[in-house]
């Protein structure tokens, strides 16, 4: 009896762990999209997420976490393609401006000004974006 109880308990704990990991993974899956959608975070021409205003600490922490991962990917690709990290990052920004910033979401060009994407109008890209 007590052995059976232990088995049931173990199964329960296992299930909870799996569910927890799945939820955490699902949240990680669209962390940057959710941050952009919050209106407190936008895409910058330097290839990183930025805070549009004074955001709560929880948002800041998420932005930092995403940016650290981005930096790692940029560094990796830059080494692979014999390019500068800034060049990979800027190229990524061009692509994110094109495909990931939804209408009403914020973006920041090299002039440093935060702007909101106006409806379905494409974001005016810096000339180097090609």
């Amino acid at each position: 009896m007590s052995r059976r109880l232990k088995l049931i308990l173990a199964a329960g704990i296992g299930l909870a762990a799996v569910l927890g990991t799945t939820t955490a993974y699902a949240m990680m899956q669209d962390a940057s999209a959710e941050l952009r959608a919050s209106g407190q975070v936008g895409e910058q021409a330097d290839g990183y997420l930025g805070l549009v205003g004074s955001a709560p600490a929880a948002i800041r922490a998420q932005v930092d976490a995403v940016n650290i991962k981005r930096r790692a990917y940029y560094t990796d690709l830059a080494a692979k393609r014999a390019a500068k990290i800034e060049e990979v990052a800027a190229t990524t920004a061009c692509e994110l401006f094109r495909t990931k910033v939804a209408p009403g979401q914020y973006y920041r060009l090299p002039d440093g000004v935060w702007r909101q994407r106006d409806g379905n109008t494409p974001i005016p890209l810096p000339s180097y974006c090609g």
């Binding site: 981005r70 990979v88 990931k100």
Partner: protein, 77 residues
Amino acid sequence: MKPAMLTRLRASATQGAMRRANFLLAAPLILSSAGCVQLSAPEKPIEINLNINIRQEVVVRLQQDVRDLIKENPGVF
């Protein structure tokens, strides 16, 4: 007697409604003053560092790799 009681009841009902109305009038004031507190300026200006010179040919060369990178890491980009 009856009309007088009704009038009294009505009067008290109106007072109750006014009290409620007063509260409703005050609510936006309280809320707006709470909003004002949050509208303070950010603590420090956020820096954007793009004063390096990006050449278009480099961007074109990296474009496909970057597209793959974005597609493979949906949570980060």
